[in-house]
């Protein structure tokens, strides 16, 4: 590992300035569970590491029925899954935040970091997409908002321009008869990278028999987490039953474009997308029904 400068600004303004000064030679540090390993492994040569844990805007964390869920980019995973309000309103966030790494990693790692790292397997990203989260970005030219499904642009690549920082992800308030869920398949029971994962949300009508709208996202089966538009659309107006679930799963499988690697084969991953999509939709529907 080569030498670099470490700074820990206390305001968003300073942070943006410090990032912008070094352009591509600056990286943000939140939990460090990805960036430190990447630096040690020689993936990046940087001049400056900007610690963003002391910036108030990046430590925002609020959850309510009326205002939704705001997760500052420096908020650690354990805070999310330990929050009783998140458990009540956004159980899919608990599903994913509680299985990133092990206990120690969850004490450091952040959802913001998981999103910025832009791994195809990033375990919180499918849920964020399914929950229609927006990413709030700050940079030299001010702030902007991007839907999470547009945030990642390739493996390890994202929307952030030089000097830009992720401030927070914001999940809209949940409505009645809404449910979401997340599942990941790994060969072990923890401490692993997804062979495939899936997050989904459904909005049921008042009768709770029909699906008004749905969002499905799958991970580890393409260069980025994939928002499965056709699979999601196939559920709009459909009955909340097994036939609809089967059809959506088949559509999700078509959206997958995985590779063969040490974690799984193309065939296995496409198969798993089908299995996981069905299982996730069943849970999401069950949650929407308040079961």
């Amino acid at each position: 590992m080569q030498e670099f400068e470490y700074v820990a600004p206390t305001s968003l303004e300073d942070a943006v300035k410090l990032m912008a000064e070094k352009g591509p030679k600056a990286k943000a540090l939140a939990g460090g569970t990805d960036i430190l390993i990447q630096l040690r492994g020689g993936r990046y040569q940087i001049d400056r590491l900007v610690d963003v844990k002391n910036i108030p805007e990046l430590n925002q964390f609020s959850c309510s029925q009326s205002d939704g869920l705001t997760i500052g980019a420096s908020v650690q995973n354990y805070k999310i899954y330990e929050s009783s309000e998140v458990q009540r309103l956004y159980p899919a966030m608990v599903d994913c935040a509680s299985l990133v790494g092990g206990i120690q990693v969850q004490g450091r790692a952040t959802v913001g970091g998981n999103l910025c790292n832009a791994a195809p397997s990033g375990d919180t990203i499918p849920t964020l997409i399914a929950e229609s989260a927006q990413a709030l970005i700050a940079g030299p030219n001010g702030q902007r908002t991007v839907p999470v499904e547009e945030f990642c642009t390739g493996p390890g690549r994202n929307q952030l321009a030089d000097g830009e920082l992720l401030v927070s992800v914001n999940l809209p308030p949940v409505k009645p008869n809404y449910g979401a869920a997340f599942l990941r398949f790994i060969p072990r029971n923890e401490m692993d990278i997804a062979v495939a994962n899936c997050g989904a949300s459904v909005q049921l009508d008042e009768s709770r028999q029909k699906i008004v709208s749905a969002k499905i996202a799958i991970g580890s089966v393409g260069p980025t987490v994939i928002y499965c538009i056709e699979a999601s659309n196939s559920l709009a107006g459909a009955d909340a039953n097994e036939a609809s679930i089967e059809a959506a799963a088949a559509a999700a499988q078509k959206a997958a474009s995985p590779i063969n690697d040490m974690r799984g084969t193309v065939e296995q991953r496409i198969h798993l997308v089908g299995v996981l999509t069905k299982r996730v939709l069943r849970i999401a529907i069950s949650r929407a029904k308040g079961e």
């Binding site: 060969p187 072990r188 923890e190 401490m191 990278i193 040490m262 974690r263 296995q268 299995v275």
Partner: protein, 767 residues
Amino acid sequence: MATVTGQEVVDPGEYKIIGTRPVRHDGVDKVTGRAKYGADVQLAGMLHGKILRSPHAHAKILSIDTSKAVALPGVKAIVTSADFPILKDQSLDFGETQGNIRMLAENILANQKVLYKGHAILAIAATDQHIAEEALDLVDVKYEQLTPIFDVKEAMSKDAPVLHENLTTIFRVDRFGKGEDTGVKGNVAGLIQFKRGDLDEGFSKSDIVVEREFTTQTVHQGYIEPHTSTGQWSQDGHLTIWTSTQGSFVIRGATAAILGIPESMVKVIPMEIGGGFGGKTITYLDPLVAILSRKTGRPVKITMTRKEVFEGTGPTSGTYMRCKMGATKDGKITAGELYLAYEAGAFPGSPVGGGAMSGFGPYKIDNLQVDGYDVVVNKQKTAAYRAPGQPQAAFAVEPVIDELAEKLGMDPMDFRIINSVHEGDRAPSGVPHLKWGCEEVEQAMRDHPHYNEKLDGPNRGRGVAVGYRLNAGGSGSSATINVNSNGTINLITGSVDIGGTRTAVAMQAAEVLGISIDDVNPTVVDTDAVGWTGATGGSRIAFDTGRAAILASYQVITEMSERAALLWDVDPSDIVFEDGIFVSNKNTEDTMSFKELASKLMGTGGPVTCSSSDTQGGVGAQLAGHIVDVEVDPETGKVDLLKYTTFIDAGKAAHPSYVEGQMQGGALQGIGWALNEEYFFTEDGTMANASFLDYRMPTSLDLPMIDTVIIEVPNARHPFGLRGVGETVLIPPMAAIANAIHDAIGVRMDRLPMSPGAILEALRDNK
């Protein structure tokens, strides 16, 4: 106290210390972080070394240009294979495996050719490890790439690319014999063959024959502590090495041989060890830090990264195996044929001999043939891994046993008991057995509640398998006892403590001396401070070093009896030592405890210090058996373990907690090997998963409670009846889990790992 007379076993169970569970002597230091491991070594002026490794699996080294690296500020020295004296082929005993010193040196630093990706080429010492790392990037090595060969079957074919031009097949009928050079060139370094009876006749007598093929992948021991070594070459020519090893004397011998210096000039200090499982019985770093220290005049430390441990040290063999067995309708095995082809990695020396000796070990088979091939391929040179070669062979034999039992409509444990091996029966290698607990373990399994309780639910199944190992030992252990004036003793050995052997050996001395275990201070010392002691391996330390400690204890009693005789003015032969008390036969009022007499040594001739060594061996044959319940998710192929029970014939469990620890640890390593562990090689021979993230060993959440049942059939070759327990525990798990998966979903898995992807494929192919 039991009477201990030579090799005779007197009624185990009558002991004061043996069989109890005292707190381990090294426990407090280890749990409080005070214990010193190799990476903790810090010396004034110490340099840090890093190793340049081959990016190719098979290539000629055309040139090495280090000029830019040398010029980097902070770089102090570079070592390449040119710094090694020219070495001849010469055999060296590593305790568990034999090694050829020239090839060992070439594995440490490639000479002319690189034979696997990760093969070390040179090492650089610098003032810190980051500079050393940066310097590696400045070295320019030119290669001529050669066609690599990875698969054992392909490597055996006639037109396969050859790793070593002059390699010929050595034929052996005895695992440790010199063998006969067949003169046949290629990648087959050895064939070991055991034959008995007449195969054709045996199969003609059988009513049913099952023949199956099996493959397994390269797996690593996965010890937590990476290899590390620090060397300091003093101006007077003395070399001191602080290292993480299972055998300090083995490292001393190998390092001295590679460097061409006398053993007496080398002192090896074994640090506490963070796991070895056989993989730390050979040297990788010690000669490098030695030469770098000689060149710089400063101490040099090299600590491997996890990636280097995976890419640059010795895992165990991937294999191709065939097993054919026949049996009569009433369940008698009439013939068995076992074909084993093991990858040795880049240099000869796979553990196929272990597999050949053990595969058919649990069964009395009058007509058998075992052929074991040792084959070089462009992968990491394999090293010993807990029961080397034997888990693979069991994975070929035990599922065939299960299938035979199934087809015969017999209970798989009943089938095993019918074919059980008893005293006087011969092992596959021809060695006759002493009394051992083969049938006792099998009966304990058959009668256990776990085996007999109902297993409900879809996709659930139960499997059993047994594992056989003939532990030898006898590579040599020394022990010294110094009696302190307060009646305690210092027990000094050279056996690196991996599995709690400090305490297990101390318990044996305490038993003989009639003192409390807290009155024994067991210490593991360096090679200058104790007699020659072979490596901690072969499940031999509680047995061999235990025997050395017992012999030294006898000497202590003899010497102290002489002191008592002086005090009481009687002949030493009139002194009896019983229950920790010295008594005069002439006057039974004259009694003294060990402690009392210890306080009178200075006035009766000075300190009592006794040393003894032992090379008898005879750790003994052993059976272990596992019962496992699994549940398979047929949609994902994932196998979850529901319940696991392990059995072993420990002879006599000196410290039952340590025996149980071995049983649980062996089971969990086997579970990893069974379900997920493998070197995942890309087409060019890169190990794609060289981290614990993707080399998937089980975590605590992947395991059920692993229950243990210890069976004690005393070993006639040890005074307290001990058998070694470190290794047999790893032999049954893969086969037991394969048999359970079959019971659950009706698919016979014939390859490892039985990962979710592999199960899905098998389910698909089975449809």
